[in-house]
Amino acid sequence: MINIIQADLYKLKKSKPIKILFLIMWAAAAIVTLVSYLVAQGKVGIEISGPISGLSDVMTIAIVGPFLAGIYICSDFSNKSINDAISSCGISRGVVIISKAIVLYLLVLLMILPYAVVTIIAFSTGAEFSEPFSASIFLHILANQIELDLTGTVFRKMLVIMFVMMLAYASQMSIGILLAFIVRKTSLVIFLGFGIILVLQILGGLGTEISFIENILSFTPFSVNNQVLIMDVEVDVILKAIGISLLFIVWILSITNGVFRKSEIK
């Protein structure tokens, strides 16, 4: 397993699309935070939030996650890297799935990192931020904790909350892994993945209002968002969120293994 992870990290280190994407995420995080600040200061109107909401973490991750699954996993089918791992390295299909998932989660975390770093920097300035749109978890943290002083405890708690959020995001991207191992076509994985993840995220947001949806999604990372956002969140809620995210990963990867275990590889 470690060989696949190391080899893929070597390859991804040389990947231009990944580098460009990482830069885009930094830019998106900076723009969203800047707009939040400017709206709070009254320097720009709230109407700017419409187009800018497309750069929020919820939106970008919904696109970037399936995009990463598509260009990373599907391209490994088309360039036969997965074939090679199975046919000439003695690696089982289950190990291939787990290895690819670990690397994809690392990539997703890497892509969310700009939002976390920018949020921490913005938080540390003590300035006032607004929440012009709801589709940003990090902005929600930033806009609602203004009354808190940046003490060590607050900072650690903030890091924990961000870690849980990033884990939930990574867990949500498991859907991209499942799609990549079934469909194996980059464009389809991006299209389907974006659609499914976005719908589930929206439903997750509506969960508190519609009990039927809440019941279904409460066992998935799509319900995690609103529960862990507040700084005075209880430890058991955080643990539950981590547990749900990890269980969802195990569940989706098990389904992926079930599908891929006996499938033909062209």
Binding site: N3, Q6, K14, N83, D84, I86, S87, S88, G90
Partner: protein, 307 residues
Amino acid sequence: MTDYILKTNEITKTFRKVDALRNISITIESGKIYGLIGSNGAGKSTLMRIIAGLSFPTSGSMEFFGKESPKAIQVERKRLGCMIELPSLNMSLSAKENIRYHRILRGISNEEIEDELIRLVGLGDTGKKQVKDFSLGMKQRLGIAVSLINNPELLILDEPINGLDPIGVKEIRNLLKKLCEERHITVIISSHNLPELYQVATDYIIIHDGEIKQTLTLQELENKCQRHLLIECENPEDLLVILETELGTTNYKIMPDKTIKLYDYVDDKKKVARTIFKHEIIATNFSVEGDTLENYFISVIGGEKND
């Protein structure tokens, strides 16, 4: 005891009720180069993909380096080198970077192998050029280099010379010969063209419509394909004396049924006929036999000869 590394037992593969392979039983012995020959759609790639673990048989079993359970076979596949249909290459990386990726994937720490393999396949001067800018032949050679990283005991190459120009074909052929001589690797190489494999394979497996039609050695193939005069007469001993004294040839074979295969004078059969008639030997059969490789292949798979 026969030293075989792969044995398939009655392997059948069905796609949507159509048999792509039917009861395939082959034995691959160590140190030989097997030419897997069949027309397009004969089942060559399907068989190779099953051996490589990319596909699963509908029925039948396989023994691979002495192991029979699917899990144990999968572990043993690290002794395998494969290039099936297309080489496993990342187009945006250079030749060396591709080799490095696959070296890390195989957990091989020896970095020297990278330059060694690139030189072996004649790509030492490609530098940082991306693989997407390589010619087809260069990609094929790099694919072979990738399949050699783990120093495999069995190398599976699916149509490695397909689409190559004559120089490319010669390069691959020489490379394979070199590998077998220097590294003693067992090779299974597929092609739809028997003459293409003739100069490299030591054994042949002819497959058609998902069935093995014939397995034969190079010697057997040459015997079947070498053009000769087939002469049958009442006193073959007298005929041999005449062939040696009058026609000055010993290039013949006496077959178990006492017929004689004469490999000289195939294009001057009148001289042979005249000579043996002059010595009052009555030939009950006198004909030119033997096929071109292509016609032999066609006759084996059940087609008509093109004379």
